[in-house]
Subunit: 312 residues, 2 copies
């Protein structure tokens, strides 16, 4: 949660003059996102999220993300639509940062999803994969297994400070992923980070899929493995929730049935997903900014998921 960059009302009013949205009625910095500053604003034309892109987001990637969100919204998915200014421009500059004005979507994120929530998230992910098939742009997944391998090499024995023996267990999993990575599975547009905090619900209906800033072109089944790692465990990773796992798989397959090769690859892809979050959390843990604006999350929650999938 974070507001890294302050935006005085005066600067916001100048910014909004690029749009046809009427007078500014409200602006609140909101505690959302660890890679950007977000403001909930209201004008005569309605509510919007103003995002200022901060560290971790490559400026060159932002047009990909904004075009993708537009494409998915056009396809009828509950994805917040970037709002063009009067000249049709999505990507702006504000307070020296890249910025975009984005449609506000109602809904709340659940902290303890029910199986019904997990099923709805699985269904939404499959629809996202279907709609992504007609999105022409590609983006390499910057947080793939190679990135986990580099992170593990960089962290080295520090992983054992998190948990004795963790460095060796990570090395074993990385070796297996290198050896057994599945070939020939369907590739497409993936969200790559569809955790419960990135899904908005009204009741058990998905009202919003948000935070597309890790979206990339990769194995569709890997995205489902991320979803399972995110939704089918207690947050600390100690408890595997089989009902949630079954529900999210059933939701997904109600829209897009898995190929046999995809189903067979899921435990291995679960290891890859667990490693990805273990590594980025471990990097944050040891090297993240000292400020408390970012809640550092315990990497061990994903070491436990890794152990679950390694045993599968």
């Amino acid at each position: 949660m974070a507001v890294y960059t302050e935006v005085p009302a005066e600067a916001l009013q100048v910014f909004l003059a690029r749009y046809d949205l009427g007078p500014l009625v409200m602006a609140k910095g909101i505690a959302e996102g660890v890679s950007n500053s977000n403001f909930l604003i209201e004008t005569g034309a309605g509510r919007f999220i103003l995002t200022l892109y901060e560290r971790r987001i490559e400026a060159a990637d932002i047009p990909f993300f904004l075009d993708l969100m537009t494409h998915l919204a056009d396809a009828g998915l509950p994805v917040p639509r970037p709002v063009p200014d009067r000249r049709g421009v999505l990507l702006q500059t504000l307070q020296g940062k890249a910025a975009a004005l984005i449609q506000f979507l109602p809904g709340v994120s659940v902290t303890e999803p029910s199986p019904d929530h997990a099923r709805a998230a699985g269904t939404a992910l499959a629809r996202l994969h279907q709609a992504g098939a007609s999105f022409a742009r590609k983006r390499a997944n910057a947080l793939d297994v190679a990135a986990s391998r580099r992170a593990a090499a960089h962290l080295g024995e520090r992983l054992d400070a998190l948990e004795p023996g963790l460095a060796a267990r990570v090395a074993t999993s990385l070796a297996q992923l290198g050896r057994d990575w599945p070939k020939g599975l369907p590739v497409g547009l993936i969200h790559a980070d569809l955790f419960p905090d990135n899904v908005l619900f009204l009741g058990t209906e998905v009202s919003g899929l948000i935070d597309f800033y890790f979206a990339a072109t990769d194995l569709l089944a890997y995205d489902l493995a991320v979803l399972a790692a995110a939704w089918a465990f207690t947050p600390d990773g100690r408890g595997y929730l089989s009902d949630h796992d079954a529900a999210l798989m059933a939701g997904y397959e109600s829209v897009r049935p898995l190929l046999p090769g995809e189903r067979a690859a899921l435990p291995l892809l679960g290891r890859a997903a667990s490693l990805r979050f273990l590594m980025t959390r471990a990097l944050d843990w040891f090297e993240g900014p000292g400020d408390a604006l970012v809640n550092r999350k315990n990497p061990l929650a994903f070491a436990r998921r890794l152990a679950h999938y390694a045993a599968a």
Copy 2:
């Protein structure tokens, strides 16, 4: 700006069941307040601010603040009204913290007020003083000159680390305030912290007066001196803005003309106001929590205001 306490949607839904406000539609932690955690929430019944009271607010004082906000809203002032639950209760508990649900008011705070904004703030403060006259409850001002004296004694020579000679200048002002404190001036309900970030505007109309958590019973003219110290200087205290000062005084006196003794006391009360903020900022500077959730503000901005009023 801060969200100190997380409130999962599940806990929020349980909390809202005490009210008749329909289903939860949105909940966003907002970057407002340094003494509490605030959430902007929306239900079927509209928008609300949920406040969780954190450090610096005495639990025993909260009913005073909530009753005062209700009184002022009843009097027609643009003050957010605390929302009673089904049983009529204002003060709740949530996540182990004292909490209250409060009406949402539209508007934005200005960072660089114009003289028109200052005039409107002065008018609103005078109306607040008038409406406060019929509020029966009293609260001693915990941040009075005696508190500044204690803070100066506690900080000692550390003040000179902020600026050479500051400890002596503070001592001189404290001695003068002790000797010359005005007697017999009107006492009543004061906001005591009406800075630009605590006034919401739609255009140049005041749409909200917020953050009553320093409100107390003290000299009305002292509250006007706080307003002048807050609005009639550049934020760093280097520039005195005579147009803003004249405008806020004119706005105030358009509703409640000052007595001659009040007008004569303003420079001295300006010293008291400058000292109050200099001292609390200096305490935060040297002893505040290390976390970056709280923006530490430079105490020297008020040392400069103190020098301005000492020269007056």
